[in-house]
């Protein structure tokens, strides 16, 4: 049981102290890829430790079935004193607990799979709707779909291959260089498979909503993947061009504010 207990303690520690600690480390966004990888490892290791704990506990119970109190005596002497003669009760309790944890993990897995499949279907439907909205018009820069809409928007959707969507207003608002920078940003999301990471993180945040670690992980991973994409675009096209593109899309059209 020691292994199971250690793993559970580790996961409890991470759940309790992880959010503050990790946020402190990744707050500055200095190395975004390392940052969101850290969050992925943290959340993954919590789920992993629960699964491993359940497996270890199940193996222990199976190996020491009927002699549980003697097996536990080695590391839980006090408990043995309390429980002498109640080996069966302890065994039942531990078996029930292990069973519940295993069941919970199974439900987690099923809910996760369901959410991911649903997201995948929605994304495909959105891609198809974007194609139709483009009305077969010639592709825009970088093979992007161009759709008529008054909003200035550029976004990308996961898929094989990914899809980048630009509105005609965005096309008009950006210079060629700025457009190239924006496309580089979106392509960085696609090559980095950020959508997959975000989908899983989002699903876990939803399923395990009461645990702050997972909601925070989702928010931080979203922020850090954006910074990563910005870094890639800035490296290729210059930080100034990226900022200009951002301003061109974000600020409402009109005369630029004069310097004081």
């Amino acid at each position: 049981m020691t292994a199971a207990m250690c793993l559970l303690t580790y996961s409890l520690g991470l759940l309790a102290f992880g959010p503050a600690m990790l946020r402190g480390i990744t707050r500055s966004g200095a190395a975004p890829r390392l940052g969101f990888s850290l969050w992925i490892v943290a959340t993954g290791s919590v789920i992993g430790s629960w699964s491993a704990a359940a497996v270890f506990a199940a193996v222990e119970l199976w190996r020491s079935w009927g002699q549980l109190d003697r097996e536990l005596a080695g590391c839980l002497a006090a408990l043995k004193l309390l429980m002498s003669g109640s080996g069966t009760a302890l065994q039942t309790a531990l078996t029930a607990m292990t069973g519940l944890v295993a069941l919970a993990l199974l439900i987690l897995g099923i809910r996760l799979a369901t959410l991911l499949v649903r997201r995948h279907c929605h994304t495909r439907r959105h891609v198809e709707a974007a194609h139709l909205a483009a009305r077969g018009a010639p592709r825009g820069p970088g093979g992007a779909l161009v759709i008529e809409a008054e909003q200035c928007s550029v976004y990308c959707l996961a898929g094989r291959p990914g899809t980048i969507v630009i509105t005609r207003s965005a096309l008009a608002a950006l210079t060629t260089a700025q457009m190239a920078a924006v496309l580089a940003h979106e392509r960085a999301h696609l090559t980095g498979r950020h959508h997959n990471v975000l989908a899983i993180a989002g699903a876990l945040a939803r399923i395990l909503a009461p645990l702050p670690l997972f909601s925070l992980a989702y928010a931080e991973i979203a922020r850090l993947t954006e910074m990563r994409a910005d870094d890639v675009a800035a490296r290729q096209h210059g930080r100034s061009t990226v900022v200009d593109a951002l301003l061109a899309l974000a600020l409402p059209a009109g005369p630029s504010p004069a310097p004081p």
Binding site: T123, H131, L132, A134, A149, L157, E186, R206
Partner: protein
């Protein structure tokens, strides 16, 4: 570049141009003006669009008259609504270059603009 949904987009484009409703023959003849295509290809494409819920149809004599469920404007508006929805439970995972900003963030952006070395944003 022929890709996923290319022909479906062209067919929808024709339908939207024809007042949101047309028979297969009408769409086929319009497309044929621009490029070679088989009647059966157009037929199966429109049938697919019907099955996917983008078109409705009614019998007119021996043929079907297909109608778009949404006008082009409605379709694009729905697409943009879905794309710009910033709710946590957004179903499709998509990433924008720049997200929607509130007034405070826009004000901070303007400060950045004012304090940048050399200038007003060139376009």
């Amino acid at each position: 570049m022929r890709g996923f949904g290319e022909l479906e987009s062209v067919v929808m484009d024709q339908l939207w141009s024809l007042g949101d409703a047309a028979t297969v023959r009408e769409v086929f003849e319009r497309i044929l003006e621009a490029r070679p295509i088989a009647y059966t290809t157009v037929l199966s494409t429109m049938d697919n669009l019907y099955r996917k819920g983008h078109l409705t149809r009614e019998r007119v004599g021996k043929a079907h008259r297909y109608r778009t469920v949404l006008s082009h404007a409605e379709h694009s508006a729905a697409l943009m609504r879905q794309a710009l929805d910033t709710g946590q439970d957004r179903e499709a995972v998509l990433t924008h270059f720049v997200g929607k900003m509130n007034d405070e963030e826009l004000a901070r952006l303007r400060d950045v603009l004012r304090n940048r070395p050399g200038s007003s944003p060139g376009r």
